[in-house]
């Protein structure tokens, strides 16, 4: 099922004639993980911001598709490359609850969801700690957990294993694989060594999407 589609997206930053993205099209579907690679500065993070609605494309359209009317989660969940750009609450528990509060979730349901999320990501031991006091790896896990708790219909993960140790890299891969059965996933990485999903591999080069052989 297609949940999200970018059609002929172009983008340049204000006061710049340099097109970072040129006529980029891509689809996210349930059951498969799309990997986006490209060198540093190729526009991957810009594309992720457009997909999440944080930047408006210069040209092209974004279509959210086939999402059941009763679906209660958010549409786009974006996990930033640097967790410090995403974490803003006084403690880890509040960080997980923050997005849910903004979805107006009933308090009992929210408490249960926060509890379950803390459990899945083994964050209970840090629930009352400030995210600032955590190691980079645990900050990244907290940022991922807070986004997944909001049940996004498609998930954009920008270099999310960059600060994770081998154990948590494997665990996050397991979680993403399982989630992808129900939602669309875009996995962004600069390193071709980090290409771990073979469903569909896209490479961003000079603003253009090149489809790679799986």
């Amino acid at each position: 099922m297609t949940v999200f589609e970018l059609k002929n997206i172009s983008f340049s930053y204000p006061n710049s004639s340099n097109l970072i993205l040129k006529n980029v099209s891509m689809k996210l579907e349930t059951g498969r993980i799309v990997t986006l690679t490209g060198k540093n500065g190729s526009g991957k993070s810009t594309l992720s911001h457009i997909a999440a609605g944080l930047l408006k494309p210069t040209a092209g359209s974004i279509e959210i598709k086939d999402i059941p009317a009763e679906y209660e989660g958010i549409q786009a969940g974006l996990v930033f490359q640097n967790p410090d750009e995403q974490l803003l609450n006084a403690d880890v528990e509040s960080e997980i609850a923050y997005g849910l509060e903004n979805l107006n979730m009933p308090i009992d349901e929210m408490k249960a969801r926060v509890n379950e999320t803390l459990d899945i990501f083994n964050l209970k031991k840090f629930s009352q700690h400030s995210p600032d006091s955590l190691s980079d790896g645990w900050k990244q896990i907290t940022a991922i957990a807070a986004v997944i708790a909001m049940k996004p219909m498609f998930l954009i993960l920008d270099e999310v294993t960059a600060f994770l140790d081998p154990y948590w890299t494997e665990r996050i891969k397991e979680i993403v694989k399982e989630l992808s059965k129900q939602i669309g996933v875009l996995w962004i990485t600069s390193s071709t060594r980090q290409v771990i999903w073979q469903d569909e591999i896209l490479s961003l080069q000079n603003g253009l999407i090149i489809r790679q052989e799986a």
Binding site: G41, N122, W138, F163, Y167, R171, L179, Q182
Partner: protein, 257 residues
């Protein structure tokens, strides 16, 4: 200052203020010149804290840092001296960037050391080339408008432009593309050949075999492995780190979803 042949750490211990556990316990080891040492371990095992202590950004609760000269004499090395002898970059380079241009950013350290004029220009160009960036293309650019990987390289260039005896790189390859990784490895090999001592803090052990000279591994704030690269059983180490020590819930994520 007398020439330092290695940095020697003697029973370093640390607990964060208000913390309920020791982040580091009795860490004793030496960082040698002309060697690349990797420090690995799970998240929150104390790697970054140790790097900050070596640099002098955090004062340890217990133990001390010494400099060892060519005659084997050990001299205590207070934080203010370590700050000058050791270049350090943390995991988020954008936190270190502040200048309006790459030229100003990379030149900031050398300017503060009194380098100026043509020597300064040469130093900046040298540092940018070492991290694989073309000075002509980058000198006048705004560091804050660069990509995450480019920011990291600029931060690295700013550190090595100080030309210190030792360097600590904390997760320097996170977010770097393949060229950036190769460029970083070339950089540390080159710094090693120049006689510098390098500490590379990382969780990504797949990048280390055949590159580093020595490996330290931390578990819960303790040094559990300190050996030459050719003695390391990489398969076993990988397996241990992938197994982790977290008792993680295996609750299905789809139940939450």
């Amino acid at each position: 200052m007398e020439k330092s042949e290695c940095l020697d750490f003697d029973k370093i211990g640390y607990r964060y203020p208000g913390g309920n556990r020791n982040v580091l316990s009795e860490i004793t080891c030496s960082l040698n010149r002309s060697e690349i040492t990797a420090l690995v371990g799970l998240s929150a095992s104390g790697k970054s804290t140790f790097g900050r202590i070596i640099k002098g950004l955090i004062e340890p609760d217990r133990g001390c840092c010494n400099s060892v000269n060519s005659d084997g004499e050990r001299n205590k090395l207070p934080a203010e001296k370590r700050m000058k002898m050791i270049g350090w970059t943390g995991a988020h380079p954008e936190l270190q960037l502040f200048a309006a241009t790459v030229q100003e950013e990379v030149g900031f350290g050398p300017v503060n050391l009194g380098v100026k004029g043509r020597d300064l220009d040469q130093r900046i160009n040298w540092a940018l080339e070492k991290v694989g960036l073309d000075p002509e293309e980058f000198l006048n650019r705004d560091p804050f408008r660069l990509s995450g990987g480019e920011k990291r390289r600029i931060a690295l260039a700013g550190i090595i432009a100080m030309q210190t005896d030792y360097y600590i790189f904390d997760e320097p390859t996170a977010g770097l593309d393949d060229d950036g990784l190769e460029s970083f490895i070339d950089l540390i090999k080159s710094l090693k050949n120049d006689g510098c001592g390098i500490l590379w803090i990382t969780h990504n052990i797949s990048q280390l075999a055949g590159i580093v000279d020595r490996l330290w591994s931390f578990e819960d704030g303790e040094l559990v492995m300190n050996m030459a690269e050719n003695q390391v059983d990489w398969e076993d180490l990988t397996e241990r780190l992938v197994s982790g020590n977290d008792k993680c819930s295996r609750t299905s994520i789809l139940a939450c979803h």
